[in-house]
Structure formats: C-alpha cells, structure tokens
Amino acid sequence: MSYLVLKNLNKAYEGTIAVNDFNLQVEKGEFISLLGPSGCGKTTTLRMIAGFETPDNGHIQLDGEDITSASPNQRGMGMVFQSYALFPNMTAWNNVAFGLRVSKQPSTVVNKRVNELLDLVGLADDGHKYAAEMSGGQQQRVALARALAIEPRVLLLDEPLSALDAVVRVSLRHEIRRIQTALGITTIYVTHDQEEALSISDRVVVMRQAVIEQIGTPEEIYVQPQTHFVATFVGTINQFPGILKDSKLGLVACHSGDLNLFVPPITDGKVQDGGALTIMVRPEEIRVNKIGTDHDLSNSLDANLKTITLLGPVTRLTLEYHGQSIFADIRTVDRHRFDLNKPVQLSFSREACSIMPKVELSNGDN
C-alpha cells in the first residue's frame, strides 16, 4: 500500500464544491505537484492533508494509519506557506528551533539540528536575523528549514514561490528539489505555475474545477495530455478540429476538407471513422521553412507570418492559416530567415499530433 493515500476526498463550502472525489496514492519519497488555475481545489486538498480543513467525506491514510480526523498538530506534517509565515517575534534560528522545542528535544539536539538546517538552506550566518530583516527568498528558506526541522512525515508546500521574483523563484525551486531529493522526503507541492510543476515533480496532478483532470509524470502531462484542458493549460498548443476519415491511415479532414492531416493510426476506438476530433500540436513540433522546400514530414501547410515574438532562446512565430492562428517556435538564431506577411511552409510529423475526441476549437476553459 502507498505511503500517503487520499481516498474519495470531498469538500464543499456553502454549496460550492471545492474538491470533488479526489483520489491519489503517493509513494514514500515522491514529489507530487498539484497544478491548476486558482479556485481549482488544489490548496483545499493540501489543507485537508495538513488537517486545517476537514473533508466532508473520504479518508486520508498515512503509512497505513487513518489520519482523516487527526488534529493538525498531531500529524507531523511540515508546511511552507505562500506568505512565509515566519514568527515575527523570533529570530530565524528560533523559528527553526520552534518545532524541536515543542517536541521537547534536548538543547544539544536542537542546537545541532538548527545549525545543520540553516546550513542546508544556505543561511548559516543569518540565524540572528528577524523576518523583517530578510528578503522574501531568505524568509522562505528559513520557513523551509523550519518545516524540515521536525523531520516531517510529509512536506507540504502551498505556492511557496508565488510571492518571489522570477530569478529567485527559479533558483529556489531547484534548491527545494535538491533538498527534497537529498532527504528523500515525501512532498506535496501546490502551484499554478506549470513550468514550476513540470520542472521539479516526479508526478503532476492537474486539477480543474474541483476535479482531477490528469495524473502523470511531467512528460506524460506535456506530451500525452489526456484532456483538452490539460493540453491547453500546460504549455501552448495548436488545435485543428476535423473529421476522422480513416482510422487505420490516421487521416483527418480539417477546414471542411481543405486540409488533410495525418495522425498516428487510431486503434483504441477512441474515435470512430466519421467522428469529430481535434488534433493538437505543440509549437515546438512545427517546422518552418520557405514555401515548397520541406517534403520530409507527413503534414504540411502554407501560412502567412503575422508576428515574431522573441521569448529568449526560442522565438515564437504567429501564423495565419485561413483565419486560424497557428503558433510555431523556432530557434532565435534563425529568426532573420523569415519576413513578416510572407507565406511560409509549416510541417509536422504525425507522431507530433495528439488527438482529443469531439472538442470545439476554443480556449474557453481558461
């Protein structure tokens, strides 16, 4: 049996369903992210694990023991909050020592452990500082050390990096992952930032409107999204609605038959011949070339280049094909090869296409 088991968790507030039939099994030492837009129920789920909210029904089991109704201070879960929540009346050192003193550890143990942890988060020399004297990033490191000090059975992080600036956010998220791996600590991480979730998790739970949309490794979530919402929420994706003409060939007619695209053969019967589906292609899977020069890939179409947006190492091209916008990412070093408002050839392989049955062309879910 898994280390942490969440079984049929439900929670509603005054008629509004916050979490609906949530099921998840977490292995010991695993790093799980709960990812979704605000109001999707991810924080409520985390708070139920922490014991700050009581589920309306369902069970939470930790290491074989039912903790559904245990009070928060009996659960042994370290929590890191978005607002850091350091005790303003105590130094960083005393903040980290708090939980150890609560559990009545001898002072030699407290001293040793607090120094170790401050060292671990890179704040060995800042133990004397108060929260008000530290930057947000430093405060969150102290909060992490404080949560780790009690050797928690599960580490819970509630959007810990949302209040920090971009550079600190990236460096601290790598640090969290490094420490988590080093200590082998089971971790549940709540975030609305898909890049964050993909970059540090063993598995990601994508949620929307109180319901789990998909559970999978970052790669599964990104490459094989199971729902339309996951495909559009995680990263950018191009959508081509069409009708399946031949499931064995993987032939799909889009744009009222003006555009034939090939997808991998559909053998699981997810869509029948003649059924509606949407083809989804990531911008980085699309190759951009001069008209009539690329014949290697199964799918090809000509589109007008509308805008060029520099994103850093990649540059995003926005193209227009019969009124539909298509995004394609190219290497930034190649950006001068193309001229605005000129037609270019787009091509992508059939393996780059994932299909969703019967979904309208819209981003209305976001």
């Binding site: 922490a50 014991g51 700050f52 009070s71 928060p72 201070n73 009996q74 659960r75 042994g76 879960m77 370290g78 929590m79 909050f81 607002s83 929540a85 350091l86 005790f87 303003p88 009346n89 105590m90 130094t91 050192w93 005393n94 020592a97 708090f98 939980g99 609560v102 559990s103 108060y130 008000a132 004297e133 909060a143 404080r146 949560a147 000090a149 009690i150 819970l156």
Partner: protein, 287 residues
Amino acid sequence: MATMKKKGPLPGLFIGGFLFYMLLPIVATYAFSIATRWDRTILPEGLTLDWYKVAFMDRWFLIVFKNSLVLSFSTVIASILIIVPTAYWVHLRVPRARPILDLISTLPFAIPGVVLSLGLIRLYAQPPLMLARTPAMLVAAYVIFTMPFMYRPVVNSLKAVNIKVLTEAAQSLGSSWLRTLRQVILPNIMPGIISGGLLVFATIFGEFTIATFLVGARYKTFPMQLVYYTRRDGRIASAYSVISFTIAWVSSLIILWVAAWGAKRTSGSGHSIKDKDLQINIAGDQK
C-alpha cells in the same frame, strides 16, 4: 509644512487657539497647586510645595492611591484575560461574529456611567451573586466600561499580523493551542495589549462616577479623595489633579512609544539593537 506656510497665518492661529484652549486648564491647575494664594491677584502671590506636602502626608493618601492602583491593575488583568482570548478566537474561527463583537465593544460608549451603575447594582445585588458594593463588582463594571479601550487596540494588532497563517504554521510544527497563543500570538499582539492596558489603566485611575455609585465610601479611590478636597481646599485638590495627570501622561508616553515600536517592527527594516532585546524579552524565547 511648506503648503501650510503659503496659506498665511490662519492655520497657525487655529492651532495656537486650540493649544491655548487645551493647555490653559492644565497650566492653571499646575500653577494653582504651587501657589501660596491666588484669589486676590492676577498672578499667584507666591510659590510653595506645601500643598503637595499636605496631599502626601494625608493619612488617606496612601490608602486611596493603593485602592486605585489595585482597581486599575485588577481591571487591566481581568480585561486582558477576558478580551484577548475572545478576540483571538473570534478573529481566527468565527470571523462572521466579528461585526457583532465590534458592536458590543462600542456599547459602553453609548451607556452613561450612572445608568450602567444602577443597572449593575440591581443585577449584582440579587442571589446568587450578592456582589453589590464590593470592589470585585467595581472591577467587573470597569471591565465592561473600558471594553472599547482594550478591544480596539487588540483587534488592530490581530489584523496587523496574519494571525491565521501564524497559528497554522505553529500547529503544523506540533504546537498546542495554549503554546501557540503564548509563544506566537501574544508576543506579536503585545503592542496592542500594552496600549489597551495603559488606556484602561489611565481611565480607571481617574474614574469617579461609577466608583461612587457602586461602592462609595466603603472603598475610597483616588478621585474620590480629589473631589473631597475640591470642597475643602482647591490648591490641595490641584496637587491631587497634577499627580493624577502625571500618571495618565506617563501611561500615554508609554503607549506612544509602544505604538512606534510596533509600527517599526511590522514595517520591516530599521531595527535597533534595543528593539531586538525588547522583542526577545517579550517573547521569552531566546536561545
């Protein structure tokens, strides 16, 4: 400041007039308390500290001073014990009850002391309480009477720090309710408690109406003695007033200082060594 100067002498006149109006009675009381005689001339005829001597030598002085101190301290402690945990709990767990508590806490302002006293006498004189005309009852009445002074600063402090998250952080570290309240919440709302305590203290130390109605001469307080002297010798009464003022002023200074310290602490930077020492002392949690 620069804009005030451009507007001419009018603002200065208003401020000057206001200060004159506020300070004149106080200055006059001071002057009267050290005047040999001041009823036949424009300025006092001479200066003396005799009236303070009379005030301090009076066999009642120590008794009424002690009685008023006991009443003030008891009220402060009782109101801290009743109001702080209530405000914390309501703030954390029953936020919907907050407006009700806000309303109740302002009621004492709306009820005149005399009405409150008479109502309380009727209530407390009946069995099983039978507390009428005892200092304990007076303290009970004072807690109600001064509730706004304690409740407001405490609630403001609770709002200034994120009580909910701090409580949850402490709980997740295994801390019990009592420990969380003692080691995390109280130190962080201490500026509010100290301000409230001093306001209550200063108010009760100078309170006359309710004390006279509820216990009267059975438990003589400092203001009662002051009123007694106003009927006999205004100069001794003035000396009493000055002593009373001084206590109120010292309290106010401490409030201002505590408020400045609290503001500094929540605003972030700018800690002096002194601040830190103070924080550690109050937290009682140094390494």
